[in-house]
């Protein structure tokens, strides 16, 4: 119970810390809206007017992914700059319990992007928020955010070790958008990308949200998304224990 309380308070504090940064808020709101605008024009020119809500949702999920990716990498790096990484890693807790609230918080603050793209679509382009399964959409959104947070934990385990974590984060943003089919169907991608897509929780989260938006079997995707992300949690937890020790050996918890 005390562990759950610690995770909840830790997540809340990191959500507060991230949400009070005007820069991070601007990035979370503006970039997904620009991407959604591009997507709408692409869908329109392709004669797929009926899929505009999918464009808004897809761009929002891209925003959640960016938030988790840069949040997990950036937050670790920011904490290193702030000198807090050493302080939190010094806590007498398993490293996974220390880092998980940060990555879940980055997923939660990614919700701002999803809300921004939906509101933008509604008020600027008159896109009706006519979800095929509204309740399933909310559940899928929550699962997607938590799942991405757990995936972020796996990423964070490498970021703890790397002093230049942002460099890795930059290279991962676009490929995961593409491979996960956040905007384009993964069927149009080369066949060799399919196994990669299947292993990513982003693929199943995006798929669940798309199915909840335009119709389809939502729950299997939600279930697989949750399963893959739990696997990420276990792997991330194991990796973090190993990585924390290596970071202490390599002296990468601090800047210098």
């Amino acid at each position: 119970m005390r562990t759950v309380r610690m995770l909840a308070i830790g997540t809340l504090m990191h959500v507060k810390q991230i949400s009070r940064s005007p820069f991070e808020l601007a990035i979370a709101l503006v970039v997904p809206v620009v991407q959604a605008t591009l997507a709408v024009y692409l869908f329109r020119s392709g004669g797929e007017e009926h899929r505009l809500l999918e464009a808004a949702v897809g761009a929002g999920v891209m925003g959640v992914w960016s938030s988790v990716l840069f949040g997990s990498g950036g937050a670790i790096q920011t904490q290193r700059w702030m000198g807090t990484l050493e302080m939190i890693m010094l806590a007498p807790r398993r490293p996974v319990l220390v880092i998980l609230p940060i990555t879940i918080a980055t997923g939660l603050t990614g919700i701002y992007a999803l809300l921004a793209t939906l509101l933008w679509g509604r008020f600027l382009y008159g896109i009706k928020l006519d979800f095929a399964h509204p309740v399933a959409f909310v559940v899928a959104a929550v699962v997607c955010v938590v799942a991405l947070g757990m995936f972020g934990l796996l990423l964070a385990s490498t970021f703890v070790l790397m002093r230049n974590a942002n460099a890795l984060a930059n290279t991962l943003e676009y490929p995961v958008w593409l491979v996960s089919g956040m905007l384009l169907p993964i069927t149009v991608l080369p066949a060799w990308t399919s196994p990669i897509a299947a292993a990513l929780p982003t693929t199943w989260g995006a798929r669940a949200l798309r199915e909840a938006t335009s119709g389809g079997p939502v729950w299997p995707s939600v279930g697989i998304c949750l399963g893959v992300s739990l696997l990420c949690l276990v792997l991330g937890g194991l990796a973090l224990t190993h990585v924390e020790r290596r970071a202490r050996a390599a002296a990468t918890l601090a800047l210098a």
Partner: protein, 326 residues
């Protein structure tokens, strides 16, 4: 794990930093930051670690508080091995470092303390009382709901201390806690540290300020070049400068050649030059029975001078003597 008489035991601690730069032709560099440090700190003792920048003070503290793994050697805190019993050690220690960093700036002091209280396993029903107590102790009561980004450096430092004490640690590591803090705040900080030691908390303090070490510490280890050069009570260390006399000269624009010439004077043991804005403070250590003041002033003829002072050596002089001999 048996209860040890010592709160801290370090035996032949060594730490080498290895770095690699470049991809095509990588260059590997190695820096031996700590080279065989051995000492013990008794329970409830206030122990000082003094040394110049880059001497290995922070690395030693980080080896003891589990943030770094020793390259070789062993260390125990409260009887627990810092490498093998990491979590047991962490439960019993607090770590406070000087400067602006180490806090969540966009959170209030209260939120910072609540978060760290959770992380450090303070029981939920004790948290409110403990946080209020500590805010009172460090003089931040009434300001706890303000965001830390609006705090002065002194306030941040006090918040650091409150954070370090949340879980009532047996051993507190203070790494240059008074760096950049104004004199009044530094005095309050020294009082807080002394009170902690008086109530039985073992404190390992690193500092640049001799007066601070002299006032607070039961024993001091002088570290330079990654090795302990001297260890003893402040009065024992002061005796290292026995048989010496110190001449201090304020000067403007002293060339290196003049300083070299001073070193060659008969009876002179060491010289040091400290820049203080436009002014340079020359410190000349000599044998007590040799009056070098006249010779020093002769060597500096033609150079604009300020105050000239001849005095008995202090702890700081002893420190300079120890570090210079390293």
């Amino acid at each position: 794990m048996g209860r040890s008489d010592h709160a801290i035991e370090a035996v032949d601690l060594r730490r080498t930093y290895r770095a690699r730069t470049g991809w095509l032709r990588p260059t590997r560099t190695e820096v031996e930051a700590v080279r065989g440090v051995t000492f013990t700190v008794g329970r409830g003792e206030l122990f000082g670690l003094l040394g110049p920048n880059g001497a290995g003070k922070t690395t030693t503290i980080k080896l003891l508080n589990t943030l770094l793994i020793p390259t070789s050697g062993t260390a125990r805190v409260c009887g627990f091995d810092v490498e093998k019993d990491t979590r047991e050690v962490r439960r019993r220690i607090g770590y406070v470092f000087g400067g602006d960093r180490g806090l969540y700036d966009r959170l209030s002091a209260l939120d910072n303390l609540r978060y760290f209280a959770e992380l450090y396993g303070v029981a939920p029903r004790e948290q409110k009382r403990r946080i209020a107590e500590l805010l009172d102790l460090v003089g931040l009561a009434g300001r706890e709901r303000e965001r830390v980004e609006g705090y002065s450096r002194g306030m941040r430092q006090r918040l650091h201390i409150a954070r370090g004490l949340l879980h009532g640690p047996d051993v507190l590591f203070l790494d240059e806690p008074s760096i950049g803090v104004d004199p009044v705040a530094a005095r309050e900080l020294r009082r807080t540290v002394a009170d902690l030691a008086a109530t039985g908390t073992t404190v390992l303090l690193t500092t640049h300020y001799m007066a601070e070490a002299d006032e607070l510490c039961d024993r001091i280890a002088v570290i330079a070049d990654g090795q302990i050069q001297a260890l003893g009570t402040p009065s024992e260390l002061r005796r290292r400068a026995d048989g010496r006399r110190v001449v201090e000269v304020e000067a403007y624009g002293v060339p290196e050649s003049a300083v070299d010439a001073l070193r060659g004077l008969p009876g002179v043991r060491e010289t040091a030059v400290e820049a203080r804005g436009a002014l340079q403070l020359l410190t000349v250590h000599s044998d007590a029975h040799v009056d070098v003041q006249g010779d020093v002033l002769r060597e500096l003829s033609g150079i604009r001078l300020g105050r000239v002072n001849s005095r008995e050596p202090t702890l700081e002089d002893a420190y300079v003597a120890i570090v210079s001999a390293a």
